[in-house]
């Protein structure tokens, strides 16, 4: 069983060991930082910009490199995102840009001070941050989902309520039956009409049920399906 002096040894030894590793990693980090932060690009303007950043406590609302408060936008890549001209106009009168929205303090910066702040933010944006902030990874999928909904929005209401239980179009719908994208290129309208009138007669044993569609509805579905090329 562990004795008290062994426990103390574990505490002191562990602390000493991991402190030593921490100091060694720090030495190596300090060696690498000049290149990773691009020290050569740290002009006098950049340094003045940091002073303004600190004096105004910008971190009290914004985050930079992900650090600060969560009341105002992340600014690591702001120069890249907005461009220097936009930032200059914004800083001249922050409340004019988004009237009635969340307010930034009007600091009455001089043009030189604005130049320094932009220089600082520009330098920040070029630090090697190991990929922060990341590109929004769901953005393409959201865009795709929106597009496909628009493309098939004119389909018959019956298709949406019944057919989609088993069939998908543009990635939306069930998977029990085959997807119907491009069905018009595989089956001509007459064959589609015959099939829908009585699937079992065309292909005995098929899982597709006889939906006993009216002639009118069948015509509507065939007309629409024939547009899926």
């Amino acid at each position: 069983m562990l004795t008290k002096s062994q426990a103390r040894l574990f505490f002191i030894g562990g602390t000493a060991f991991f402190s030593l590793i921490f100091v060694m990693l720090t030495v190596d980090t300090l060696r690498q930082i000049p290149e990773r932060q691009n020290t050569k690009a740290m002009t006098a303007s950049v340094v003045r910009g940091k002073t303004i950043w600190d004096d105004r406590n910008c971190m009290g609302c914004h985050t930079i490199l992900g650090e600060g408060a969560y009341y105002a936008p992340e600014l690591t890549l702001v120069v890249n995102r907005r461009g220097p001209e936009w930032i200059r106009i914004f800083l001249r009168d922050p409340q004019a840009m988004y009237p009635g929205k969340r307010k930034m303090i009007q600091y009455d910066f001089s043009e030189e001070q604005i130049t320094d702040v932009i220089a600082f933010l520009d330098w920040i944006g070029k630090i090697d941050t190991n990929g922060f902030p990341p590109e929004p990874d769901l953005k393409p999928q959201v865009a795709l989902a929106k597009a496909s909904v628009a493309a098939v929005s004119d389909r018959p209401a019956y298709f949406d309520s019944v057919c989609t239980a088993c069939h998908a179009v543009a990635g939306q719908g069930g998977t029990f039956g085959p997807a119907l994208d491009g069905v018009a290129t595989r089956i001509d309208p007459v064959a589609l009409d015959t099939w829908l009138a009585d699937p079992q007669k065309v292909k005995p044993g098929t899982a597709m049920p006889n939906l006993e569609l009216s002639d009118e509805l069948r015509a509507e579905l065939v007309a629409w399906l024939s547009t899926l090329e």
């Binding site: 562990l2 562990g14 402190s19 009341y71 190991n130």
Partner: protein
């Protein structure tokens, strides 16, 4: 209380509760601003409210730790404090620096560095004040015939906390370097040496409240604080993922942050096991509530919720979002706020000789404030997760997302009202105890 000079702790505890109340007020200002009602924008803009909120927290916790030390050290050293007068001077110094800092923040007298906003001239006063504090408790301990493990761990923690304040006073031209060393203070405090202070205070409370053998409690104290440093020192790496430091911090920080919950799990098991072993029959049940609650909530808030967002794969998306506020609130509450409230609950009846711990008010104060804090954490979590998906993963505009999550801040504010009621009841109970009483000197407890 055993010794007359322990009563000086009262000043620190009263200060703690006063500053805590003020912290809550600034919290409400921020909560309303997030809901879209930034009505005080021209008087107290968000960055002033935020800086005041954070620094009041640090001040009231430190005041609580100092009060705890002034109460604990004489008992562990078995003698009066080296000088009660110096302790009172030190308290006055702390109050003056604190009040000056909070007022200064309203006039932009600050350094815009999260958690370390106190301007440099006041930093030097903090150092002088803390040195005076360490002198008083240190002399008390060194002059004793014997000094316990509990007392030593507490003092080592306090001394290390003072030393680690210094890297925060170096001026850097580079944001990267500034950030790197700022975490030496902030991280190595809250996930390092403050846990020593926490371990020391918990150990003292458990010894007093459970009656379990001191040797056993102190042995496990070493194991727990051992785990703290084993994980916490290299765990600093989770602050170095994306600030311009080398890529290996993703690996180092990821692994050791994942181990950090172990120390807090240790604290939780420690408190629960010792309390059960002692039979939970100490008359001051409410102090035991806060003590065991502190162990458990520190594991949930600091350990589990910390783990949940320090993995590099998760943190890449959650870094710098409301998720951080979610974790931060329950972590500080569980590990440190509840600890100070536990210490106050234990010490007040002993200092005043009045046993006001058995009424309904202190018990309801415990439950209501905890339910309030859990509610706040939940609301922050919903807002944070929504923000991460909309802003970070889908790429929606920042302001559009903030408007979408405004409703969850109504949840934060409602839950904060509960917390406020609980803390109000706690303070009411504190006031009813009255001042320390000489008749209580020499009584056990």
């Amino acid at each position: 209380m055993k010794f007359r000079s322990q009563r000086v702790a009262y000043l620190f505890f009263a200060t703690s509760l006063l500053l805590f109340s003020l912290q809550i007020v600034f919290g409400f200002i921020m909560g309303f601003a997030h809901m879209g009602y930034d009505v005080l924008h021209d008087v107290i803009p968000f960055n002033a409210a935020r800086t005041s909120h954070l620094n009041l927290l640090v001040f009231w916790l430190l005041s609580g730790f100092m009060g705890a030390a002034y109460y604990i050290v004489p008992e562990e050293a078995d003698r009066e404090l080296h000088s009660e007068k110096l302790a009172v001077i030190q308290w006055a110094g702390l109050v003056i620096v604190g009040v000056t800092a909070i007022i200064g923040f309203q006039f932009e007298w600050w350094e815009g560095r999260k958690f370390l906003e106190i301007p440099r001239p006041l930093d030097y006063l903090v150092v002088v004040d803390v040195l005076l504090f360490l002198y008083v408790v240190g002399r008390t301990a060194l002059g004793a015939e014997r000094f316990t493990t509990t007392g030593s761990v507490l003092l080592v923690g306090l001394t290390a906390a003072a030393l680690l304040y210094l890297p925060g006073m170096i001026t850097f031209e580079s944001q990267v370097m500034d950030s790197y060393f700022r975490w030496w203070v902030v991280h190595l405090w809250v996930e390092g040496v403050w846990e020593l202070i926490m371990g020391g205070i918990l150990s003292f409370l458990l010894i007093k409240l459970t009656g379990v053998d001191r040797e056993l409690i102190e042995k496990w104290l070493y194991v727990i604080v051992g785990f703290t440093f084993l994980s916490g020192i290299l765990g600093t790496g989770h602050h170095y993922y994306y600030i311009g430091a080398p890529e290996y911090w993703l690996l180092v920080g990821g692994i050791f942050s994942a181990l950090e919950p172990l120390a807090f799990l240790g604290m939780a098991l420690y408190a629960v096991t010792m309390a059960r072993r002692g039979g939970m029959n100490h008359p001051n049940r409410i102090a035991l509530f806060w003590t065991v609650g502190c162990g458990i909530m520190s594991f949930v808030g600091a350990g589990f919720l910390g783990f949940a967002h320090t993995l590099p794969q998760v943190n890449l998306w959650t870094h710098g979002t409301i998720i951080t506020a979610m974790h931060g609130h329950m972590a500080f509450w569980g590990a440190y706020a509840m600890l100070v409230l536990a210490m106050i609950s234990y010490a007040m009846p002993n200092m005043t000789g009045r046993k006001l711990f058995s009424g309904w008010a202190p018990e309801w104060a415990f439950w209501i404030s905890n339910v309030g804090m859990i509610g706040m954490t939940g609301a922050f979590a919903v807002a944070g997760i929504a923000q991460v998906y909309m802003e970070r993963k889908i790429g929606m505009d920042f302001l559009a997302v903030q408007e979408a999550v405004e409703v969850h801040f109504a949840g934060v504010v409602l839950a904060a009202c509960l917390l406020t009621v609980g803390i109000g009841m706690f303070i009411w109970n504190f006031v009813q105890y009255g001042l320390p009483n000489d008749e209580a000197v020499g009584q056990g407890g």
